[in-house]
């Protein structure tokens, strides 16, 4: 495949898969035979053949439980790992063949892996990154100044990284990753360990990069807030297979087939609690009721029609399940090869 071409597709996977061989610990080898006997190996599938595309400028959450294959996929897409089969391109580059060229176009931010030097001021790391990305010094200096202003790093860059709070350090990490103007930002758990304020700040920075600058964002996170506030699209992976690929709204609406109907009544309901199959009702106050509807059993419209006839309703809201519940359901779900959307 030709490399280096520009395309509207930022990331493309075609039947990409990865398997590993690991020692079969179930086969006992005892005594001195261990010295010369090679333990048989078994094949472990980290990623089943996977196909999806991410367009330039999209903001995609790549989510799944631990061991689902997220890390393997990101490592292949950033050129760290070779796949066992299939093809992938990132900005037209085959990552494992064209790593140097790719590194000029992408940036990676890992919440648990710092790329700043712990004992040095972040400014020194910026200087080093200027060199290793082989950037023009003047342009890089102006770029660093712009990033500092944008991320509120004034006064932080000259302090040793070890003295920064985690939130301050992560802002520096993202700024450092953006120094070479990457077109794709791979983020792996960027908000892990951050407090609420720092998390919100970082999310808004990433969102702004995507919306204002058109940087393609590919994010993995276990944090529902990251997924909701940063991304428009979700790809869910489970046991090495894509089980959902669609918008965040669709994910919320369809993955957990449950809706919540909340009612404010104009007069107290004195009758018996409405009983319907697939509906759990809760009286919060005499004037407020809540109904959890399993839409695989009964449509929300049917439940609502039944309630309107029995209750004096002043106001009502119908909500999809919170993203936390959606992600919890995904993680708790048995493996499935079916793509939901």
């Amino acid at each position: 495949m030709a490399t280096g071409m520009r395309s509207e597709i930022a990331v493309s996977l075609q039947g990409l898969s990865r398997t590993f061989e690991r020692p079969d610990l179930g086969v006992p080898i005892r005594g001195l035979r261990r010295l010369w006997t090679r333990r048989p190996t078994v094949e472990a599938v980290a990623l089943h053949p996977t196909t999806f595309h991410v367009n330039a400028g999209e903001s995609v959450a790549f989510i799944g439980p631990n061991g689902a294959g997220k890390s393997t996929t990101i490592k292949i897409l950033t050129g760290i790992l070779h796949p066992t089969a299939g093809m992938a391109t990132v900005r037209g580059h085959v990552p494992w063949l064209d790593r140097d060229a790719l590194s000029r176009e992408i940036a990676t931010v890992f919440g648990q892996k710092s790329q700043l030097w712990y004992h040095l001021p972040a400014r020194d790391s910026f200087t080093l990154l200027t060199r290793i990305h082989d950037l023009d010094a003047d342009l890089a200096r102006r770029r660093a100044a712009a990033l500092c202003e944008r991320f509120g790093l004034d006064g932080l860059l000259d302090r040793p990284v070890r003295t920064l709070s985690l939130g301050e350090r992560m802002r520096c990490e993202v700024a450092a990753a953006l120094l070479h103007s990457p077109r794709i930002l791979f983020l792996d758990e960027p908000t892990i360990g951050l407090d609420v304020i720092a998390r919100q700040e970082l999310r808004s920075i990433i969102r702004e990069l995507n919306q204002r600058d058109g940087v393609t964002v590919f994010l993995t996170s276990h944090d529902a807030g990251d997924v909701e506030r940063v991304c428009d699209r979700a790809i869910v992976i489970h046991t090495g297979r894509v089980v959902f690929d669609g918008s965040i709204e669709t994910l919320r609406r369809d993955f957990v087939r449950r809706k919540t109907i909340s009612l404010e009544l104009s007069s107290p309901f004195t009758g018996e609690s409405p009983i319907m199959s697939g509906v759990v009702s809760t009286q919060l106050t005499p004037m407020r009721w809540q109904f959890q509807v399993d839409t695989t059993v009964v449509p929300a419209e049917t439940v609502l029609a039944g309630l309107i006839g029995r209750m004096q309703i002043a106001d009502l809201t119908i909500t999809d399940p919170p993203m936390e519940d959606v992600i919890a359901a995904i993680y708790g779900q048995a493996s499935s090869s079916e793509v939901v959307s």
Partner: protein, 281 residues
């Protein structure tokens, strides 16, 4: 957004120049990092001074016991200055094999590999900075100690410069060997034992405490056939000699060892990169 993208490849020379700039950048950053640990470096200097004091006492007793002015062609003052040079080489060693070992074990290596500039270049720049600071400091402490205990000895500027150049080549060889040991973590459980053997063998057969010229003939022949003597004894002997008689043999041994070790580690690195596996999820 203003583009400040890299200036791209410019052929073999351009790539080599780029690698040198990367090594220089890592060198500068780690040099500053070393400044944050000057206290640790100073502590190493105190330990070196104590060590030299003990060794000086032993050598003084040996010379007294032998009742000779020279042993194997070395005066007492020359032996003490020899010790200063060899100890400076050994105590300035950087045990970065442990770092590579940890990188491999924790999966951090995979993250380091994705950075442009190269994993080896990054380690080499850091190694040089740390090593040269320690080497210079050890020479300073050792030099002051030797001056106070046995006084100055005549040293020609050319042997001094050539000896220091040989030490630099020896450090490069040491870097390659330690890199090879660290990358061994892809195949063996723990490389610290291999590193321990490497350091101990090189100290004994490299002539750290006793010049190779004083070894029994058979052991001396074995030591000279290995690269350790060229790394430790060779440069020190050169500095103390009045001419450059052994210089070609020394650089041939260092260069040959470097080529051989470099080739092996290059191959090992290539195999190791293909063995990088995913960790975490």
């Amino acid at each position: 957004m203003t583009s400040v993208r890299g200036r791209g490849g410019r052929g073999v020379v351009g790539i080599a120049a780029y690698r040198m700039r990367v090594i220089q950048a890592y060198f500068v950053v780690h040099l500053r990092d070393q400044m944050a640990y000057l206290g640790e470096v100073a502590l190493g200097g105190i330990i070196l001074a104590v060590l030299l004091f003990v060794l000086t006492q032993l050598w003084q007793a040996t010379f007294r016991f032998q009742g000779a002015d020279t042993l194997g062609g070395y005066t007492l003052a020359q032996v003490i200055w020899y010790l200063v040079l060899t100890e400076a080489f050994i105590t300035s060693r950087v045990a970065f094999a442990r770092k590579i070992d940890t990188d491999v074990r924790t999966g951090d290596l995979a993250y380091a590999l994705v950075r442009p500039g190269g994993y080896v270049s990054a380690h080499f720049g850091a190694y040089l900075a740390e090593r040269l600071v320690r080497f210079a400091f050890a020479l300073l402490v050792g030099g002051v100690f030797a001056l106070l205990s046995v006084g100055p000895i005549p040293v020609g500027p050319v042997p001094l410069l050539v000896g220091l150049a040989a030490s630099l080549v020896a450090m490069l060889l040491d870097f390659v060997m330690v890199l090879g040991i660290g990358l061994g973590a892809f195949w063996i459980e723990d490389t610290s034992s291999i590193y321990l053997i490497y350091t101990r063998v090189s100290m004994i057969l490299g002539g750290l405490l006793i010049p190779i010229d004083l070894f029994p003939d058979t052991v001396g022949a074995i030591a000279r056939a290995l690269p350790f003597a060229a790394m430790i004894h060779g440069p020190a002997r050169l500095v103390l000699s009045s001419g450059l008689a052994d210089v070609s043999g020394l650089f041939t041994m260092l260069g040959g060892s470097l080529a051989l070790a470099g080739g092996l580690v290059w191959w090992e690195y290539g195999v190791a990169r293909r063995r990088v596996t995913a960790q975490g999820g």
